[in-house]
């Protein structure tokens, strides 16, 4: 982007090299085997990526939303599964803990998640509550110095492979009586549930967190009891902006493959790139990609500026994140499907990456708030 600082440009360069050399070669394997390649987390830790937004005093890189979005875009351009798993770890767990946790909690848990020694995730969604997240049923009841958590979280990224989870649970009868707990997988009463098979993002493990009278020390409650509803919603802003970055990456990656293909492939005596129909598909995709990218980075920049000025964006933050995610996610599905079309039979063939990108892209219209919820947020801000 034109407004990137010198540091942001350097990050972009090194991420491009890293993604090409370390992530791209294993992207097809991740999808086929439905497993995250071993070593990805330690490589990302070596790059200093796992605590990207964490202040340096806690061992992080002290960077902002723009930088985090750059990382997601570059990972997304080669392997969206890796980008999604990275997001669940770095934004949903690490960033949330660094933002909302106590000094003791940060000192206890941040070193291992920043070094990649343990993998984190976040639990909001339940079988009965998706878009209506505050209707969650998981209950936390006090038992001496502990809480006992009971309930099931589903469609949780990194649930099968993670060790530590940032879990929301109900601590009262009111709709907003929600609290947050740091739940280790070694805690009594915790189990991982089964791995869930998905259309795409198959390299990123998805599963359930099953808690049956799961004993969590009171010291692992994040923030005050019953005060999590607001920060749960606010934390979603950076998640939505960075996942929108993944969408931008997917579309960019798919268009790059299509761009090469249509300039090489010949039909009816000329390269496909000479046909107006292909030009239209490519040009529309290219223009829509850049429009989405500008919007996503504007949202990221606004997030950073507000943070640096010490005035939280509040509802405006949710609005910009919703705009960015809605546009980027729908764009990426359309553009990646068009890229399959430009490659024709080869596009449908799993040896070429574009069909994977199309399958991956669809997730972002659903995860981290569906398109419908993004529209609801925009309407709530702009119309009422």
């Amino acid at each position: 982007m034109w407004f990137f600082s010198e540091e942001e440009r350097m990050l972009q360069d090194s991420m491009q090299n890293f993604a090409q050399d370390q992530i791209l070669p294993l992207a097809e394997q991740a999808d086929e085997t439905e497993t995250l390649p071993e070593g990805h987390f330690s490589k990302m830790a070596e790059m200093g990526l796992l605590g990207i937004t964490v202040p340096e005093e806690f061992g992080g890189a002290g960077m902002g939303c723009v930088e985090a979005t750059i990382v997601h875009e570059e990972l997304g351009a080669v392997c969206a599964s890796t980008a999604l798993t990275y997001l669940a770890h770095t934004i949903l767990f690490v960033h949330n803990l660094a933002t909302n946790g106590s000094k003791e909690q940060k000192e206890k848990y941040l070193p291992d998640v920043i070094s990649g020694k343990s993998i984190g995730g976040l639990g909001i969604t339940e079988p009965g509550s998706g878009s209506d997240s505050l209707a969650m049923a998981t209950m936390a009841t006090r038992d001496g110095n502990d809480y006992l958590l009971s309930g099931t979280k589903t469609y949780i990224t990194n649930a099968p492979n993670g060790q530590i989870f940032y879990v929301y649970a109900r601590t009262g009868d009111g709709k907003k009586d929600v609290s947050t707990f740091l739940v280790e997988n070694s805690f009594e009463g915790f189990s991982h549930g089964k791995k869930i098979r998905k259309m795409g993002m198959r390299g990123s493990p998805t599963g359930q967190l099953i808690m049956d009278q799961c004993r969590v020390p009171k010291a692992n409650r994040v923030g005050k009891e019953g005060y999590s509803a607001t920060h749960m919603m606010r934390n979603l802003d950076i998640e939505r902006i960075t996942i929108a970055g993944i969408s931008v990456g997917i579309a960019r990656g798919a268009l790059a493959v299509a761009q090469r293909y249509v300039q090489e492939r010949e039909a009816f005596g000329q390269t496909l790139s000479k046909f107006q129909m292909i030009q239209k598909m490519y040009a529309d995709g290219d223009a829509e990609l850049h429009a989405a990218k500008s919007l996503v980075y504007e949202a990221a920049k606004r997030w950073d500026i507000a943070k640096s000025e010490g005035r939280p964006l509040g509802k405006k933050g949710a609005l910009w994140a919703a705009r960015a995610k809605l546009i980027a996610a729908t764009m990426a599905t359309k553009v990646s499907l068009d890229c399959v079309q430009m490659l024709g039979g080869y596009g449908y063939d799993r040896e070429f990456p574009v069909e994977r990108m199309a399958r991956d892209a669809k997730l972002n219209e659903i995860g981290a708030g569906t398109n419908e919820i993004m529209r609801l947020i925009i309407a709530r801000e702009e119309l009422n």
Binding site: I196, G345, G347, E365
Partner: protein
């Protein structure tokens, strides 16, 4: 103008449904998960009279029209687009041999293809020639009473499983011919089995021809008829693909409606949110428009009227509608929609193939506009 279905058509729909409920519904999820092609389904489809629906009675066919055939495909695709696709491809050689073949060829191949004992395939596409089918490079050189075939055919549905292949070859610089090649022909072998985005039950393979020798008598029609044969087959093939698309669309719409009625969020059924209501309304309208465009093309075909433009329109509209409908069905089901267990994600992966086969959407637009330019 009469939009109602007659008794035979209603019967065709009912019996195909019953067949699919019994034979396909119980096994399809397992077959899809394992990319397993259940060959024994074909004799069963033959038994049920499905494969030879349009073929002449002399060879065991039912002498129905493309309209009825389209209804069959729509019902099959409702349960499995993969098997419907393999089914429609085995029907291509039947159609081609019936229309262009010699009496001898008809007697030799049609009865067993119609019972499903034999499975058919159609080899046109090559690594270097897809939409531009005319530029195919596979060569057949005549020596005595035989042709010797050399070349590679790509993305062949039923490749490796089929017994009878109709292969488009260049018999001269400017001459494309259609040859029948049998499974056991020395010199023909199965290359790479492709892994695809969807339609995983239906095998797609590369077919390799290395000095494969077939009798010249295996030529369908005259030499040089090949391109006409291929294009005629593709015209009606487009109605088939449109029908498959409509079957998938109906399945996706049904699943979306059922889920939206059941799922509650924010204290009400999600089907009562306008965002969902309007999505479903658009899906249903798109499907209905596609279905009647497809049936009109079938009607024209069955009444010996020109139907090439309408077949392309039906294919273009139905497959693109299917892509939108299935993508929206995933959206209606939200997180559940993205998971394999809830099946709609499979519909979406399958829909994409239909925009590519039997002529991409782009080729349909070429055919349509070519027709518009005529006086």
């Amino acid at each position: 103008m009469d939009f109602s279905l007659n008794d035979i058509q209603t019967e065709v729909i009912d019996s195909t449904r019953k067949f699919a409920e019994k034979e396909i519904a119980p096994i399809i999820d397992e077959d899809e998960a394992n990319s397993h092609f259940r060959r024994e389904l074909f004799p069963k489809m033959g038994d049920a009279g499905l494969i030879g629906a349009t073929a002449p009675g002399d060879y065991g066919g039912s002498e129905l029209g493309i309209m009825e055939y389209s209804l069959i495909l729509e019902q099959l695709a409702y349960y499995s687009a993969s098997y419907a696709a393999s089914f429609s491809v085995t029907a291509l050689p039947i159609k081609i041999i019936e229309q262009f073949g010699s009496e001898e060829q008809k007697q030799k191949y049609l009865p067993d293809l119609i019972t499903g004992e034999l499975i058919g395939a159609f080899c046109l596409t090559e690594p270097g020639s897809g939409s531009d089918a005319k530029s195919l490079k596979t060569k057949a050189e005549k020596s005595g009473d035989n042709y010797t075939i050399n070349g590679v055919k790509q993305f062949i549905t039923n490749g490796g499983q089929a017994d009878v292949y109709i292969v488009m070859v260049r018999t001269d610089e400017k001459e494309i011919s259609a040859l029948i090649v049998e499974k056991n022909c020395a010199g023909m072998s199965v290359g790479k089995l492709e892994k695809k985005m969807g339609m995983r039950v239906s095998p797609t393979a590369e077919m390799l021809f290395e000095n494969a020798s077939v009798p010249a008598a295996n030529t369908i029609g005259r030499p040089a008829d090949g391109f006409r044969v291929a294009m005629t087959a593709l015209d009606s093939g487009r109605i088939s693909i449109a029908s498959i698309a409509n079957g998938i669309s109906q399945a996706a719409l049904d699943k979306a409606i059922a889920y939206a009625k059941e799922r509650e969020q924010f204290g009400q059924r999600i089907i009562d949110f306008q965002g969902i209501e309007f999505m479903l309304a658009e899906m249903a309208t798109e499907l209905e428009a596609s279905r009647w465009l497809t049936r009109r093309a079938a009607y024209l075909h069955d009444n010996d009227l020109p139907f090439s433009k309408e077949a392309s329109m039906a294919k273009l509209k139905s497959t693109e509608a299917c892509m939108r409908i299935t993508t929206d069905a995933v959206q209606v089901l939200g997180g559940y929609g993205y998971m394999e267990e809830y099946v709609v994600e499979r519909f979406m992966r399958e829909a994409k193939m239909l925009e590519l086969v039997e002529g991409t959407s782009q080729i349909q637009k070429l055919v349509i506009s070519r027709n518009l330019k005529k006086d």
